[in-house]
Amino acid sequence: MRKYFSRERLGYMFGILSNPIDSFYEIRYRDKGSVPLAVICVFVLSALFTINRVFAGFVINEVNPRTVDGITEMGSFFMLLGLFCIGNWAVTCLMEGEGRMRDIVTVAGYAMLPVALALAPATILSNVISIEEAAFYNIILGVSIAWTAILMLLGVMTVHNYTLLKTLITLVLTFTTMLILIFIGLLIMDLLNQIYGFFYSIYTELIFRF
């Protein structure tokens, strides 16, 4: 337990906010990262995301509360980031990336930190603003999302020891891989469904006969 949640590791997690390149370097080459912490980051983000959708102020909240489903949203966050990690790992393995799966997961999770940190104050703020002041709310969210994107980029760049150009190329390839993964996943689901249907029809046939 201590190994994953030590004060030092927490320090490096928040350290990426101010010194992203150095902190990601430490995470990769001195094992200062922590996968459980990264997972907690994503967990907190998805929970706050759902909370924001329900409890953001009426003035700026355009979300139909009856369409909010926390479990589905959490599932989508984890699935998306999981796909990203697998895709990135698969691509960087072939492109001389130095990062291990563990590092990629850590980077993906830690990079969510700005949004996760901004969502709570933004949600509170949204309850005390009027429509004219909605710009503040949007700026907070916009800046945090941009920050997350930059962290993601820097993180991937650092743990794989890439140049910027190579990182961008890898990211494009990663997204392609994610699409392929989704495609294959759907294909397998469909095939399994058909196999299930086949056996089920055999079963009903037998039931009717005997």
């Binding site: 009426f58 003035v59 139909n64 009856r66 005390v128 009027s130 429509i131 004219e132």
Partner: protein, 492 residues
Amino acid sequence: MRKISIILLIVIVITMVPFDAIAADTVPYDTYIYDHWEYIVFTPAPYVPGETISGIALEIGAFSDPQGIFVDHDDVVYIADTGNNRIVILEPDLHTIRDVITTFNNDGKTDSFNRPRGLAVTTDGIIYVADTENRRVVALDGKDVVRTIENPQSEMLGDDFDFVPLKVTVDYAGRVFVIARYMFQGIMTFDTSGEFIGFYGTIDVTISLWQRFWRALSTQEQRARQQLFIPTEFTGLDVDPMGFVYASNIDAAGEQAVRRLNPKGEDVLRKGVNENVGGDLLTWPQSPSAFSGPSNIIDVTYRGNGMYSLLDSRRGRVFTYDYEGNLLYIFGGMGQQAGTFRQPTAIAAQKDRVLALDAIRNELITFEQTLYGELINKAVSLRYDGDEAKAVETWREVLVLNENFELANAGIGKAYLTAGENWTAMQYLQMGMDRQHYSIAFRRWRNDILKENIGWILTVIVGGIFGYVIIRTVVRKRKGYEAADEGGAFDA
């Protein structure tokens, strides 16, 4: 224990007794509106089926394919009995015949109609009839023709133009508006002397980028076989006392099925909170039946005080909107029972009633206003006249019958906002899903609270800063002493 079981028993019995919603289950159709989230919300019936009046009951022989109806300012009802080539004029009570026009005097000769489909009556009693198959518009004063419009000549029309008028209406200045068959450029307008002035209220064709893309890729032959990009035709006409023309059209996108045209022919319709005046929002697109698809709006009638009703021939529903384009209520449906349609063709409003014609039943169907419908009409009228205070009282009565009515909640909220009761206004405006006004009420409420409490808020902030500075200084000093005691990390 015994008491509890008795109470439980009572609760169980009460929940088992079926109770009636306000008479809504006695009408043969659904009455509902769409809320802010575009969900269907069922409402009490605003209008209930009244009478079904056939030509046989009036002892003039059954109607045949009646296509047009008009109610004049004296509530006299004019029906274009298309299949029988006649105009039937009913007294306001709908049961006595005032007149049946089959023949009329055209410049000394006896003349008759050939499938007249639309008609309109001016305030001085001139009847304008779209005499469809005779390809003319006839203006009758009693039984004498005062004016005919036929074979209009203009450079805009071309030489082989075939003038087939379907619907007609007249504004207070005597301008005649005609919807003609296969006339996609717009409504044809004629001046008092019967001269063609020009087209009016043309609907622009919208081509999406995607359609443009495919069109650019396709060959000449493919293009020839593709669907043509032509504007939709208008289907029904009405004119309000101020001279604005309401024209319904069939919108395949289901977004705007009516236009309110100013004298220049520009659309000045307001589209309301849902940005939609196209009938049903939920159009059941997956179902292959004739029941699915966007509403097929075939007629419009001005109801007074900025309200207007649209008639949907696909699902037999009547949609009523206020002057801001907010949906007020929906009633009507297809069926075989009294008060339902088989093929609705035209709609008009008379006193508190809504009248509609059915071309298969060959009957005039009336809908009588209920308390719920009356209250909504009254509230909207009061608001249209600017009497917000009285409107609020009426909206409250509406809320008693249907507490989910967003327009009523928003209306009450706005009145509270004007009265300066910001907190109450916020509650109602939130239920009415009115973000703009809620925001105003909220800002005022928030600023009031800030103003009242600014004293101690500032005290706390200033005190906090002072306290922090003092504590920090003390702590630093102590640390400094400790460091010094331990051997002096630094020289103070």
